[in-house]
Amino acid sequence: MFRVTRRYRFAASHRLHADALSEEDNRSLYGKCNNPFGHGHNYVVDVSARGPADPDTGSAIDARRLDELVAREVLQPFEHRNLNCDVAAFRNLTPTSENLAVEICRRLKRSWPTVFAGEWPKLEKVRIAETARNIFELDAHEIP
């Protein structure tokens, strides 16, 4: 079994604000991430898939098909967008990188069978680096 990881990048803005909390509590909890007009990140997204190497091709995944899937489901809809305003999932959900990882994982899992029809490869992990110091990993098996 191999785990193949491909790295992607997109830039987007967000504002961390929980509707359930008061203005003051939001400011206290999220700090400058709660600034009213939002702020941007150069996100780095690592997508990992697991599978055996095909005996004929020696490859565990066709990286170009993965690229097309990630471009369609993640990069095109998120690139240079305001995540709070432009991505439906974040209308009522704070676009923390935790929630962003869940959303990316859901999108990839939903379309995965249309691109990779067989048992393998399987989506294994999504890792988001919001900054060089803040990194969020999600095991794809935890997402239905």
């Binding site: 191999f2 785990r3 990881t5 020696g58 490859s59 565990a60």
Partner: protein, 114 residues
């Protein structure tokens, strides 16, 4: 299937290899495994046969096996795992970067949760 990677006269990469060993620190030395030995094994078993070589032509089994990053990672595992095992070390993972944006992890022949 392979696109640019199938160009007839080949192409190169600056491969980056990460090797992980697993174990408890030795009570005397405080080390899981002697890093100098790891370095020597990698130098002898991987760097010397692979560095600046045309893998398909010069490094068996890649005269016969397509040198995808997956297959190279597995071959490196097969070369180094017995070297560590003979010295009481347990190889955990081989991570091979083909580019900074594409890498493969290999954990041995058995399926293994990382």
């Amino acid at each position: 299937m392979f696109g640019l990677a199938a160009n007839p006269n080949g192409h190169g990469h600056n491969y980056l290899l990460e090797v992980s060993l697993q174990g408890e620190p030795d009570p005397v030395t405080g080390m899981v495994f002697d890093l100098k030995e790891i370095k020597a094994v990698l130098q002898r078993e991987v760097i010397e046969p692979f560095d600046h070589r045309f893998l398909n032509h010069e490094v068996p089994p890649f005269d016969d096996v397509i040198p995808t990053t997956e297959n190279i990672a597995r071959d490196i595992w097969r070369r180094i795992e017995p070297q560590f095992a003979a010295r009481g070390g347990r190889l955990h993972a081989v991570r091979l970067y083909e580019t900074p944006d594409l890498y493969v992890d290999y954990f041995g022949e058995q399926p293994c949760s990382a």
